[in-house]
């Protein structure tokens, strides 16, 4: 589905805020925990009380650099800056962030489909408190009174800013999805959009297809789920096109995604553009990571989702989508090792995708590898394999013993042929119809014969082998 009418191109860049899952806040020892009673994780520092001073949390810096490196960024010497504006949920009425010297710059993220999206920067900043407005429409304007919970104030964030490289709502979603997977893989955030630990703002504009200009963009905030990213961007792009078609043009502004009405709405218009009066934060020292620090960070990074998908694709003929599913479930390492130990890649993937959705349970890799071998050597039928597999997952043990205990003996093909011939002889009318039928009808009738064989062999027969014998007899 195309997002915009023919002749137009959608341009999008994303700003993603990720709350870091550190034990404590960015500048004090208060717990960094979602869902606690309001204003219980607060102290003079994160309340911004007069006289208090920030002390940087080394774990947060570590996490931020990890994220930067996972996004292929350069890690720089960086400087914290104050962003000054008045808002009741900001304890000091300025936010400590990074301005002209961010920690991470010039990275990129490869979408699973292959496209590379530039990452302009990924900088460290502090979160604000959370305001709830009572009365009015739930916004500060027109509210009767407001309550502020400062538990979130000072929680460490990394803001990841992409280049305007995104060309469709689908790509935007894929970018956020992939970013989320990376963040989860390196363990720096729980990245829950519904709890606000991952928040996405989209900068959207449009231009005539083929043009290289960048037109006025609008920043869409309040996008609360992965699925609303697509709808918000699509809506906004078409709103711009509507304005251009009507001879008007959009104004650069911040807009809010209205989930209920599936549209974006202008924020309260500001007479003047924001002037945040950034200046270097004098209470903090510049961050100067050494080459050794960066090397240590690099060494600590696990294999990232893209590499894991690639690794799986290298050892098994598998689509990016299927590999992605297994990686998302975190089962790729198991699959990779099983294949590495000699198990048939196709069977490994089928079992993991279909029969091991809930995990490997008590089954070890070695046992799985032996089971797959028994299957591919036709010692077990597909059905038997599945049953043994289920038992290994539930209770462990060796596949050989489980198969034996169940009486799953290998069916000799001569035995199987004898059974097939007996069934043909017992059902002459059906056999005649089967032989005479075209391929489509034959398939239906085959189901009847296969059922009889499975019944006669108590499910021990290998379906593939049975079919082969029937087809030979029919030809």
């Amino acid at each position: 589905m195309s997002d915009v009418p023919e002749g137009w191109e959608l341009i999008c860049g994303l700003e993603v805020h990720c709350e870091l899952a550190t034990t404590t806040k960015l500048f004090c020892g208060c717990r960094n925990r979602f869902g606690d009673d309001a204003n219980t994780n607060v102290c003079p520092v994160c309340l911004g009380l007069p006289g208090s001073l920030p002390v940087l949390n080394g774990e947060a810096v570590e996490y931020a650099m990890k994220l930067g490196r996972a996004l292929n960024c350069t890690v720089n010497a960086s400087v914290f800056a104050r962003k000054n504006y008045f808002y009741p949920d900001m304890p000091r009425d300025f936010q400590v962030t990074q301005f002209d010297r961010p920690t991470n710059t010039m990275g990129y993220l490869d979408l699973p489909a292959g496209k590379r999206i530039g990452v302009t920067r990924a900088h460290i900043e502090e979160d604000t408190g959370k305001t709830s407005h009572a009365g009015g429409d739930g916004r500060i304007h027109g509210a009767e009174y407001s309550l502020v919970d400062y538990n979130r104030a000072g929680v460490p964030l990394v803001e990841i800013v992409s280049e305007p490289d995104i060309r469709s709502a689908d790509e935007a979603k894929a970018y956020v999805d992939e970013l989320r997977k990376i963040v989860l893989a390196i363990g720096v955030s729980d990245a829950k959009m519904e709890e606000g630990s991952m928040r996405v703002d989209a900068n959207v504009s449009v231009r005539p297809a083929g043009s290289t200009e960048f037109r006025t963009r609008c920043e869409i905030k309040n996008i609360n789920s992965l699925s609303s990213i697509e709808r918000a961007i699509r809506y906004e792009a078409n709103r711009h096109i509507g304005l251009y078609d009507a001879g008007e043009r959009p104004h650069q502004e911040t807009r809010h995604w209205d989930e209920e009405n599936q549209r974006t709405r202008a924020g309260r218009s500001k007479e003047n553009s924001d002037d945040y009066r950034y200046f270097p934060e004098p209470d903090l020292l510049p961050l100067e990571p050494s080459a050794a620090d960066i090397a240590r960070i690099d060494a600590s990074l696990p294999l990232l989702p893209a590499a894991r998908r690639g690794r799986l694709a290298d050892v098994a003929t598998v689509s990016a989508e299927r590999a992605g599913l297994i990686v998302d479930r975190g089962q790729d390492e198991f699959a990779f090792r099983a294949i590495g130990a000699g198990a048939d890649p196709a069977r490994v993937l089928v079992h993991i995708e279909q029969n091991l959705k809930d995990g490997f349970g008590a089954m070890g890799i070695d046992e799985f590898v032996r089971l797959v071998a028994m299957e591919t050597e036709n010692k077990l039928s597909a059905t038997q394999t599945k049953q043994v597999l289920a038992e290994l997952v539930a209770a462990g043990g060796s596949p050989e013993e489980v198969a034996k205990a169940r009486g799953f003996e290998a069916m000799q093909s001569s035995d199987l042929a004898a059974i097939v011939d007996k069934i043909i002889a017992e059902n002459p009318d059906d056999w005649q119809r089967f032989v005479a039928a075209d391929d489509k009808d034959a398939n239906k009738i085959y189901g009847f014969f296969a059922g009889l064989v499975m019944k006669a062999t108590q499910g021990k027969a290998d379906g593939k082998a049975v079919r082969e014998i029937f087809m030979q007899r029919r030809a």
């Binding site: 009380l49 007069p50 006289g51 001073l53 002390v55 000054n84 002037d275």
Partner: protein, 480 residues
């Protein structure tokens, strides 16, 4: 009328030959007698001080050593947070606020056996040079009640000069310890930036603020600085290295020390009687074996201009938090924004508003490079010029204040004239370097004069040696 040196008090209290309670009672008697005239304090903690003194005496009786400040009465500038006690910055906007924590320096003083006797008056948020910008009325100079005590730590300087306390703490952003020390005839020290933790000091300009001691003599100042100096993990700008030993070096003399008189700060704009004492001080150092020459630190002449961009810029951000949302005064309004505006309009005095506006402007888009950015480059030049001077000299010398104490009201109408008071003290704040004011002689009006000793980063030990020689040459001790 002073209660004696802090050093002696502590020695006597530790030896059990004088009770801390008696010391505190003497102090409070002095307060009773003259505080009505001087108004050094925003808050006198009489009951608390007596109780603390009794506790010290009990510990001594118990055979314990309460520490190097045992029983010594200390006054705190009212921009230092004291747990559960009003901390106002002499501003209406903080009226009624009681911090839930003690500043690190307060913890250290109490842990050393010191007794907090009160919170002293200051120019609102430490912005001023006369303590006339206090929302609670001015402090007067104990040497002449018609004169200002200097500022912004005027209350602390006056408290020591009047014998209300043996020691006091102030904060110095552009001269706010040294200038009132000079005007009140006491010793005042601005340590190296980072030597003393700022945790719990209510910020004016974070990159310039530094806490330091007031004392009646050089040794007492060294004693207090030793107690409050040292690394604090609550302040990221705190120096990690061990702090210098000061009391032990006071008798080391200045033989062979190279002393430079800063020519840019010892000429135009400095009153003749102040210059006369500066040269007398130089002569005294020469007599003691120092080599005194003229030094040039050219960029210092731009210090005042750079300071009045950097300090207000940082202040405009530091003072944003006083918005009525969480603590202090609140003036209601129809919306949050109106409430914030009404609160700040009513809560801040004129000088504070002036500096917030200056600073806001200096940081504005389109003006940042021309103002704040350029001021920071001047700061770099000043640091460079000091570094060059310190290749030739161990310490530098200049006046602390261009004049002796002036009359109340004399400079309130013209902010720029008031700002010029700090022309000699500001460069050390911009460079982050230590400097101290030592009383040296009196002016034509009989009012005290201070000579300023400057040293390179962490050069406190040398600085104190010079101060001790100047003091010895003076027989300082009989204030007021």
């Amino acid at each position: 009328m002073t209660i004696g040196s802090a050093f002696d008090i502590a020695a006597q209290v530790r030896a059990g030959t004088r009770s801390a309670r008696a010391v505190v009672d003497e102090c409070l008697a002095a307060v009773d007698a003259r505080e009505g005239d001087v108004h050094a304090f925003n808050l006198v903690l009489a009951d608390q001080a007596r109780a603390a003194a009794d506790a010290i005496d009990a510990r001594v009786a118990n055979g314990e050593d309460p520490g190097p400040l045992a029983g010594v009465p200390v006054a705190l500038k009212d921009n230092l947070c004291t747990r559960g006690l009003p901390t106002t910055c002499s501003s209406r906007i903080l009226e009624g606020w009681r911090p839930p924590y003690d500043a690190s320096v307060v913890q250290r003083i109490v842990a050393a056996g010191g007794i907090v006797v009160g919170k002293t008056n200051l120019d609102e948020f430490a912005m001023g040079s006369s303590t006339e910008n206090s929302a609670f009325g001015p402090t007067r100079n104990p040497h002449d009640l018609s004169k200002v005590p200097g500022g912004s730590s005027g209350g602390s300087a006056a408290a020591v000069a009047a014998g209300f306390a043996a020691l006091a703490l102030g904060s110095d952003t552009g001269g706010s310890i040294r200038q009132p020390a000079a005007l009140c005839g006491v010793v005042g020290v601005k340590p190296t930036y980072g030597l003393v933790s700022r945790y719990g000091l209510i910020a004016f300009a974070s990159s310039l603020d530094q806490i330091g001691p007031f004392a009646a003599n050089v040794r007492d100042a060294a004693l207090l600085l030793e107690v409050i100096a040292g690394h604090d993990e609550m302040d990221s700008t705190s120096i990690p290295q061990a702090s210098p030993s000061l009391v032990d070096v006071l008798d080391d003399g200045v033989d062979g020390l190279r002393v430079g008189i800063i020519e840019e700060l010892s000429g135009e704009g400095i009153a003749p009687d102040v210059l006369a004492q500066l040269h007398a001080a130089a002569t005294a150092l020469e007599k003691a074996g120092a080599i005194v020459e003229t030094a040039s630190v050219p960029a210092t002449i731009y210090g005042l201009s750079a300071y009045y961009l950097i300090a207000p810029a940082e202040a405009s951000s530091n003072l944003a938090r006083y918005d009525g949302v969480r603590y202090g005064n609140r003036v209601d309004g129809a919306s949050t924004t109106e409430m914030m505006e009404a609160t700040r309009t009513a809560g801040f005095g004129a000088e504070v508003k002036r500096r917030i506006m200056l600073g806001t402007y200096a940081l504005s888009a389109g003006y940042y490079d021309a103002y704040y950015g350029k001021a920071q480059r001047v700061r770099t030049l000043i640091i460079r010029d000091f570094a060059r001077a310190y290749e030739r000299f161990d310490v530098l010398l200049c006046p602390t204040s261009p004049t002796t104490a002036f009359a109340l009201g004399a400079k309130t109408a013209d902010p720029l004239t008031m700002y010029l008071n700090d022309v000699c003290t500001i460069p050390s704040n911009l460079a982050g370097q230590p400097a101290m004011s030592v009383p040296f002689g009196v002016g034509d009006d009989g009012m005290p004069i201070g000579v300023q000793v400057l040293a390179p980063l962490q050069g406190e030990a040398t600085m104190f040696r010079v101060a001790a020689v100047l003091e010895a040459a003076q027989k300082v001790g009989d204030h007021v």
